[in-house]
Amino acid sequence: MTSTPAAAAAPGIQRDAIRSYPGFLWKALGVATNGTWLFYGWMTLLTAIALVGANAWAVQVRDGMIVTNMSDHVSWGLYIANFTFCVGLAAGGVMMVIPAYLYDDEEMHGLVIIGEAVAVAAIIMSTLSVVVDLGRPDRFWHLIPGIGKFNWPMSMLTWDIIVLNGYLVINLHIVGYLLYMKYLGRKPNPNWYVPFVFLSIIWAISIHTVTAFLYCGLGGRPFWNTSLLAPRFLASAFVSGPAFILLVLRVLRMTTGWQWSPRPAQTLIQIIRVAMSINLLMLASELFTLFYTGSGHAAAARYLFFGSHGANGLVAWIWTAIALNLIGTVLFFQPAALERSWLRIAACLCCIVGIWIEKGMGLVIPGFIPSTLHEVVEYAPSMTEWKITTGILAFGLLVLTLLVKLIAAVELKQISQPKGSGTTEAQA
């Protein structure tokens, strides 16, 4: 990076930046392990849930996937459902980024890092969701390009592995860089992160598109085999992501002294309003095509919405999702949603849960019911699957809590590079 005057002028500063990095990490560890009793309680709770999940997973690896309720008819279940949602959340994380950089919304800049942190946590959750779905996690190395055998570019799953890991690296870089610069009290060098921010915007679209391609590329599963799937995924991600960020911001504002104007949240709500409307419109058009033509392809949708052959395991799920999505949308369109109201929180929760069901249980499971040979075999997650999935969510929240706590600490100058340290003083 010799092209910028700042960097060229001060190679010494760069060296110092590297030198003081261990100190930064050490202090970050301090932040991570210090807090109020509420913080300790919260972290203990999340750890306990994650432990239960880890134990359930270990048992699953030992005894086989028989401890899940998946079968050869419904061969993916709650794990992959949760995976799909988490990828959406990760993609939605960059929603803060788009207005901040594409439209140069200055006020958003400070908060962008929160969105990136959400993306990092969500990617970790999606990756874990896939790992626990593997029958042979010990053979994980077969997936590593170079050592294993990577069926790229044919397999959509390899694309997904690439884009998810790439996205994780990009976001870790942006978060880490911005945070560290703030810690050092220096102005971030745009050359070091703005290109990555734009990359992450494109990349966010790609992770959810590729995840949609995972499903819609399968000709044998008519319920998924629709070109509308990727746009629908994106639209719903643009709702769940910002809604989740709104919740995080609220928690941050209540537990730290961090203050900001209501503008960024309002921008997010505008995004949600548009995205949710598009999402519902696309859902309606999908349903019209399915039910009006009434072809055999509607069998899965019929099962999903109304049940068939006396089997109706998903009916309650999907109508709950639709109700929550509609209520959430209506709430978001209330003027009160633009203020810091409880109504906004309720709207966010409705949309998050609604989309979690719609993109998860409501999308992944009906792809298998009826089966490719039209057998209606139902699926409801087993206790093990719930434990593991909840464990993953808890672990993701744990990571997010730590990240956000660190961000807030740096932002509020609770930790920073000690004055005078640097060239001479070795840290830790």
């Binding site: 079968s71 050869d72 008819h73 419904v74 052959h309 089966s371 057998e375 209606v376 075999v377 139902e378």
Partner: protein
């Protein structure tokens, strides 16, 4: 016909290449056999053997000295008058009692040869053939089935698809079809799969209703 007749039969087998069986057939069938039998490779082919069908070699009776004997058909039929019109099992007596006959409107002598005391079968042109060779006899009416049989598309078999590596054993018509009542009798199938989560869509009842109203009977889709 320079192919080797490989004989690896057990005692329960009657060794006979399909080819040999079919050599007695009428001309057109013979031609089609040629085309099937010709193999693109020049390697010698192993034989295809037809399993001996479950047919009696006579009827069992008790001799005056109390010994059990097996009687040939002509033991009685060579001395009795032939009833050439008989087409039903009900007016048969002695050894034929209890026989079920349900095979169109054929008379006994449509298939059985009265000229040698019913000890052989009779083709439509009057030629006598051995009981074992009944495949030709059946094929007189059931041409498509015989054609499919010759082309390996009807009738169970075991052994090698690649006749340059090993031979084949084939079922006889009579393994599945009782000559007197050839319709395949229904029976209990092998147990269904034990799925952990059973499919919800069983159509046992609705199908009956459909069948009653559709009037499709036994005709096939194509």
């Amino acid at each position: 016909m320079d192919r080797e007749s490989h004989t690896n039969s057990g005692p329960f087998l009657l060794v006979l290449a399909v080819l040999l069986v079919l050599q007695g057939c009428s001309e057109p069938i013979d031609n089609s056999v040629e085309s099937v039998a010709a193999n693109s490779t020049l390697e010698p082919l192993f034989a295809t053997v037809i399993r001996e069908p479950p047919v009696p070699h006579g009827v069992r009776a008790v001799a005056p000295n109390g010994e059990e004997v097996s009687l040939q058909c002509n033991a009685c039929h060579s001395v009795r008058a032939h009833n050439l019109k008989s087409a039903s099992a009900v007016d048969l007596d002695e050894f034929h009692q209890g026989m079920h006959y349900q095979h169109g409107s054929l008379t006994c002598v449509s298939c059985h040869q009265p000229d040698d005391g019913y000890s052989s079968l009779r083709l439509a042109d009057g030629t006598s053939i051995a009981f074992f060779e009944s495949i030709q006899l059946c094929g007189q009416c059931h041409g498509p089935q015989l054609r499919d049989y010759e082309h390996g598309a009807h009738g169970g078999m075991t052994g090698y698809w690649d006749l340059t590596r090993g031979g084949r054993e084939r079922n006889h018509c009579l393994h599945c079809h009782d000559a007197h009542k050839p319709a395949y009798a229904d029976f209990q199938p092998v147990a269904p799969p034990r799925d952990r989560f059973a499919p919800a869509n069983h159509h046992a009842e609705s199908s009956e209703a459909f069948h009653a109203t559709s009037g499709l009977g036994d005709s096939h889709h194509e």
